[in-house]
């Protein structure tokens, strides 16, 4: 059985770690988090226009590097992957998804899904659908269009959110929980089928997360 992936999220602005102070090189942060037990690093960047820092981080790490950014062109997507990003993460409506999956392989393309619990069930907001869309229906479409993984954030988290993870576990592709950083809801999502969790780096180290989640019986990588 695969280990549940424990992935810290690092926010990057203009090529530097947001709020990083003197130690603001993304490569330095990523290497420290790897030493602290991270199974991969997820960078949330304000731009994909400058792949220089991605190249530096990718060349320094021995775990995967995923990049979530506003990809404004095919060239930016291509440059990020060439610089060493293992995976690019697209936001809805994920217009480049199918072409990217066909060109680079679906392993390397994932999509963020923001699901909100409404009276009619779990919904996602889409630019093309003002009334929103059923979350499971949208995730099935993303699977068909070539997504290699879904990064799912539920609002609310916790018991209600766990129900959506349980349903999403029936998809043929992996689903990662985008966590706010609270232990209990993250554990609920993982126990209900999420293949891993991404959390804001800072409060707990990856190893602290692993200790806490391992104590709940989840399979983690030592």
């Amino acid at each position: 059985m695969d280990a549940k992936r424990i992935i810290p999220v690092v926010r990057v602005q203009a090529g530097r770690v947001a709020g990083g102070g003197f130690e603001s090189r993304p490569a330095d942060w990523a290497c420290r988090l790897e030493m602290e037990g991270a199974d991969g690093i997820l960078f949330q960047a304000d731009t994909a226009a400058d792949p220089g820092w991605i190249r530096e981080a990718a060349g320094s790490l021995s775990v995967t590097l995923a990049l979530e950014a506003p990809f404004n062109s095919w060239a930016e997507l291509e440059a990020a992957l060439e610089a060493g990003a293992d995976r690019v993460i697209l936001a809805a409506p994920a217009a480049l998804l199918t072409a990217a999956a066909q060109t680079f392989g679906r392993c390397h393309v994932a999509v963020v899904v923001e699901a909100v619990l409404a009276e009619s069930g779990w919904r996602v907001e889409l630019p093309s659908e003002p009334d929103g869309r059923d979350a499971m229906d949208w995730m099935r479409e993303l699977e068909q269009r070539g997504a290699g993984e879904i990064l799912l954030r539920t609002s609310p988290e916790g018991e209600a959110g766990a129900a959506l993870f349980q349903e999403a576990a029936g998809l043929a592709l992996a689903v990662l929980c985008l966590s706010s950083g609270d232990e209990l809801p993250a554990a609920e999502a993982l126990l209900h089928g999420a293949d891993g969790m991404a959390f804001p780096a800072g409060r707990w180290t990856p190893r602290q997360w692993k200790t806490a989640l391992g104590a709940r019986g989840l399979t983690i990588r030592d």
Binding site: R5, A58, V63, A83, A85, D86, R106, A172, A174
Partner: protein, 210 residues
């Protein structure tokens, strides 16, 4: 000197970084005439198989690599590289592989999510004098297809069904896992594997150790 075959399929940045950390001397070669005069070849890559085959053919590698292997040069295929070294793949039913490693690459599943992107425990099936044991270790995988294991397979993992993690035929080696993405454990394995295939330290490190 390790020659990294640069054929435009997947980034080499992480692999080069790993070799730098291991102190191994390496170069990129887009065509066979740019390869180092000695030392192993590394055929990495990821993504769809057909464009990869086309690019290797266009650059002359498809013709030269089997001859180089027959002449005794070591070849290490990683991920898609392993698939290309095999006899064929379900991903490209009308094509054939380089045929340096027996077996057919098949799509993963049923029983596991595809693509497989994650850390799996690896089980050693056979020992080999050149390569380290990988009993009980976790390695990172990113793939939708894998080589069917055989009695010759050195190590396996399971994702819905067992698949081959490491193959060795003479001086041709194939590894499904991304050792360069598998933490300290993977990095150590990569170093020992490349050392077993004749990878050399950077000259200055050599000099420093004397």
């Amino acid at each position: 000197m390790i020659t990294l075959i640069h054929y435009g399929t997947g980034s080499l940045v992480a692999l080069e970084g790993a070799m730098d950390r291991l102190g191994l001397s390496h170069c990129r070669a887009a065509r066979p005439d740019q390869a180092a005069a000695a030392g192993p070849f590394v055929l990495a890559g990821s993504g769809p198989m057909d464009p990869a085959c086309a690019q290797l053919k266009a650059a002359g590698w498809w013709r030269e690599l089997p001859q180089l292997a027959a002449d005794g040069r070591a070849v290490l295929g990683i991920n898609l590289g392993l698939h290309l070294l095999a006899e064929g793949s379900e991903e490209s039913p009308r094509g054939t592989g380089l045929g340096l490693i027996p077996g057919i690459v098949r799509r993963l599943g049923p029983g596991g999510k595809v693509p497989h992107w994650g850390w799996s425990p690896v089980r050693q099936q056979r020992d080999h004098p050149l390569f380290p044991e990988i009993r009980g270790g976790w390695l990172f995988f990113a793939h939708s297809h894998a080589l069917e294991p055989s009695s010759e397979t050195l190590s396996i993992a399971v994702h819905g069904r067992p698949f081959s993690v490491m193959e060795c035929r003479g001086r041709t080696v194939g590894i499904q896992a991304h050792l360069e993405k598998s933490g300290c454990f993977g990095l150590g394995l990569l170093g020992k594997t490349l050392a077993g295939l004749g990878g050399q330290p950077e000259p200055e490190l050599n000099a420093g150790s004397n």
